[in-house]
Each structure stands twice: as structure tokens, then as C-alpha cells.
């Protein structure tokens, strides 16, 4: 079986489908932001629980680690009979994959806060809450954002896979291209999802520099 003469990119198709491309791009961003946002909220809760009792670290990261080992397509497939071909299925899977990276980085970031800074704050009469919000979190931010970077880039890749369960954003173009041997949407979907990953990463590096200028020297 060969597809002779089918060009890699048909620009007229792109021109005719600009609206759809924009829609899918937006959907891709939405699915990613929602997953990373929810993942961050849950991981933050888990990290606080771990801070409250350090013995929770191993069970929490172990469970997240096992989830992480399951191939994405398998995890989505496991959920389909229960939650259908829905955005809920996609998000449960996507959020699960962010938990390990984010929890590890939040806990690691908080642990990395110098004891001196902590003691100084306590000496100045900070309450536990003030200590967390005004001293520890700001100092942990670079490590946390590093985790968000990895989680975001990973999620953008995984969103393409959710095309198989009827979501997928740009992944739908890839799937459509593969199924119809029509290269143009395939290339559009692949190139845009890669561009999106690179752009998101660059944006987060910028954010990291903005909130933690002292890290710029290091890397």
C-alpha cells in the first residue's frame, strides 16, 4: 500500500480550515491548563499532607509512581467503560500523570528552603501559615515551577493521545490524518502540538525568571 503523490502539506486545506485549527488549538490549551491546574491543586494538598506527616510521602509517591508507569492509552482505556468518551475521562488520566512530578517538586522545593530562613522567620514571630506563604513558598517557587514545566510539556503530549477517546485537541488532526492517510492534518497537528509544548516551556521559564530572578544566574 502506498500513497503516491500525496504532498506532505496541502496549503489550501490549511487555508480552508483555519477556524477549525484555531478551535482545536484552543481546546488543546484548555485541556492542558485544566489538567495542570487541577493537578497542581491536588498535589499541593498532598504536599501539605506530607508536611503534616512525613510518613505519607512513600505511599503517596508510590501510588502516583504506579499510575505514572501505566501507558496513557491503557489508562484512558481503563476509564472509558466507567466515564465514557468524555472530557472527564481525559482529565482524570491527564491529572493522574501530573501528580508524581508536581508532588515531588513541591515537597522537594519546600524541603530545600534553608533552615536559616525558616528560623529567622520564626524568630520574627511568623505564624506557621505566614511562614509557609511568605517565606517557604516563595523560596520553593523555582523548584515548583520546574515541576510545572515538565508536567505541562508532558500533558501537552498526552492530550494528543486523548484523541482516541474523542477529545484530543490537536491530536484529532493527527488521528484523522493517520486514519485517512491524509498527511496535511497530520503534519498540522504534530507541528502545532510540538510548537505549543515549546512555547509553553518558554513561557514558564520566563515566569520562573520573573518570580525568582536569583535563579537566572544558575542555568
Amino acid at each position: 500500500m502506498t500513497i503516491q503523490g500525496e504532498p506532505l502539506v496541502r496549503f489550501d486545506w490549511i487555508g480552508n480550515n483555519l477556524g477549525l485549527i484555531g478551535e482545536r488549538l484552543w481546546e488543546h490549551i484548555f485541556l492542558t491548563v485544566l489538567a495542570v491546574g487541577l493537578g497542581l491543586a491536588i498535589s499541593f494538598g498532598l504536599s501539605l499532607a506530607i508536611r503534616w506527616n512525613g510518613r505519607l510521602y512513600l505511599p503517596i509517591t508510590s501510588i502516583a509512581g504506579v499510575l505514572y508507569t501505566i501507558p496513557s492509552l491503557a489508562l484512558f482505556a481503563l476509564l472509558v467503560p466507567f466515564t465514557g468518551l468524555s472530557i472527564l475521562t481525559a482529565e482524570i488520566g491527564l491529572v493522574s500523570y501530573t501528580l508524581l512530578i508536581l508532588t515531588r517538586n513541591i515537597v522537594g522545593g519546600l524541603e530545600g528552603v534553608p533552615a536559616d530562613a525558616r528560623e529567622a522567620a520564626i524568630g520574627m514571630g511568623y505564624t506557621a501559615r505566614q511562614l509557609l506563604l511568605r517565606v517557604e513558598l516563595p523560596l520553593a517557587l523555582p523548584v515548583i515551577i520546574a515541576g510545572v514545566r515538565v508536567a505541562t510539556v508532558t500533558t501537552i503530549g498526552l492530550v494528543t493521545v486523548t484523541a482516541l477517546i474523542g477529545q484530543g485537541g490537536l491530536g484529532q488532526f493527527i488521528l484523522q490524518g493517520i486514519q485517512r492517510f491524509f498527511y496535511t492534518p497530520l503534519v498540522v497537528g504534530a507541528v502545532l502540538s510540538i510548537a505549543l509544548a515549546i512555547a509553553a516551556d518558554a513561557l514558564l521559564v520566563g515566569l520562573q525568571r520573573a518570580v525568582a530572578p536569583w535563579t537566572a544566574v544558575k542555568r
Binding site: 500500500m1 502506498t2 501507558p71 491503557a74 491530536g171 504534530a190 515549546i198
Partner: protein
């Protein structure tokens, strides 16, 4: 409960354990596709990683390219592999999947191999040179054995990623366990779908464990990685 019963019935039905769509055949296909891909990637990445790690030439460029490669979506690899396979007249199924998996695996192995060799204590290398070892001996007798745990960690990471992603090969008419998932979705046959998902997950976890065992067997006990202490990046990412 009825669904789980249906999955169990599907998995234990002897019909599904024989023939070209049987579980043993699908597992064999899955392992064959993954094995060939990992092998080709290994042949490319290992010598290159050792060379760059030893000489430190071209390291920045290579590692930068590889880091971008690690961030690319797996489905995008498959997307580009399909036209490539047709252009080379290799058709559907096996080859487009392998063409997608090889470039997926190479960065994971190469970056780890490079980093592993670079991470070898320079004093050790200097001592080896001082003892009159030739460059190849320094590499083979000192750097590689010391760097072995990290090198194997990279291969393990790549292998698990490949086994996980080989599932997507079913989209381009490939065999392997992904067949059950893709067909199960298409036919809304949830027993098949779930059985496939469970088998894929088990195979991935088995691969991970198998490599952990290999690592224990070939790495000198004095050099075993203390994963927690090193805070390994284990940067494979979700698959």
C-alpha cells in the same frame, strides 16, 4: 461487577489465547516491535553517547537536540513515521511503528549515557591514564563500568517508554496489545478494551521490573545507585 466479570471471562476464554488475534501472539508481536526498536536505538545511541561523553565534543548541540526530542509527543512521532514509511515503501504496521519508536528511544538513552560518562570522577580517569591505559581502555575499563548504573537506567527508561508507546502502533494497523484497545474502542467492546488495557499495563510494569533485575545483575554492588539520594531525574515522562 458485571463488567469486571466480563473482562475476566474475556481473559480466561480459551478462544482469546490462540490464533493470530490471540493473547500470546499479540504479546509476542508487542515484544518483537519493542525489541527491534530498542535494539536499533541502542546501536545508534550507545556508541554516540559514549563518544560524546568521553570526548565532550559536540555535547551541547547533541544534548540540546535530544532534550527537545524528549519533550515531543509520542503521537507526533507516529504522525511523522507514517509518511516516512510510505515514502520508503515500507507500508503499514510494523515499520511505521518502529520508525516512530526508534527516535523516541534514542534521546532517552543518549542523554543518560552521555551524562553517565561525564559524571565519572575525573580523578579516576586521570588515574587510569596515569597507569598507562589507552583511551579505549579508559572508556571500557573505567568509565563504562562506573557509569553503568546510569546507562542502564537510561536503557530501562527507553525500553519502558517503547513498550508503552508500541501500543499506539495499532493505529497504523500494527499488531501488539494495542490492537485490543483500538479494536475495543472501535467496537465498543469494553471487555476487550479493558483486557487490553490491563495487559498493556502489566507488560509495562513487567518491563520495568525486568530491567531493575538486569541492573542488579550486571552492576557492581559497590556502584549501585541510591535513587533517593541522587534524586534521579528519571526523565522519561509519562507515556
Amino acid at each position: 461487577m458485571t463488567l469486571l466479570g466480563a473482562v475476566w471471562a474475556w481473559l480466561t476464554n480459551s478462544v482469546h489465547w490462540q490464533g493470530s488475534d490471540g493473547i500470546p501472539t499479540r504479546i509476542a508481536e508487542h515484544l518483537w516491535i519493542s525489541g527491534v526498536s530498542v535494539f536499533i536505538a541502542l546501536v545508534v545511541a550507545l556508541p554516540l553517547g559514549l563518544l560524546i561523553g568521553h570526548t565532550n565534543r559536540g555535547a551541547l548541540v547533541t544534548v540540546s537536540i535530544m532534550n527537545v526530542g524528549r519533550a515531543l509527543p509520542s503521537l507526533a512521532f507516529l504522525a511523522f513515521a507514517l509518511p516516512a514509511s510510505f515514502a520508503l515503501n515500507l507500508g503499514l504496521g510494523f515499520w511505521p511503528t518502529v520508525i516512530a519508536l526508534v527516535p523516541l528511544a534514542i534521546p532517552l538513552m543518549l542523554v543518560n549515557t552521555y551524562a553517565a560518562i561525564r559524571g565519572v570522577d575525573p580523578d579516576l580517569v586521570e588515574a587510569a591514564r596515569g597507569m598507562g591505559m589507552r583511551e579505549l581502555e579508559v572508556l571500557g575499563k573505567v568509565e563504562v563500568p562506573v557509569a553503568l548504573p546510569l546507562i542502564i537506567a537510561g536503557i530501562r527508561n527507553a525500553a519502558v517508554t517503547v513498550v508503552a508507546t508500541a501500543t499506539l502502533g495499532a493505529l497504523v494497523a500494527g499488531g501488539g496489545l494495542g490492537r485490543y484497545i483500538v479494536d475495543g474502542l472501535a467496537r465498543q467492546d469494553y471487555a476487550r478494551l479493558l483486557a487490553g488495557a490491563i495487559l498493556v499495563a502489566l507488560l509495562s510494569i513487567t518491563t520495568e521490573v525486568a530491567f531493575a533485575v538486569i541492573e542488579r545483575l550486571v552492576v557492581s554492588p559497590g556502584l549501585r545507585l541510591d535513587r533517593e539520594r541522587l534524586a534521579l531525574p528519571d526523565a522519561g515522562g509519562a507515556r
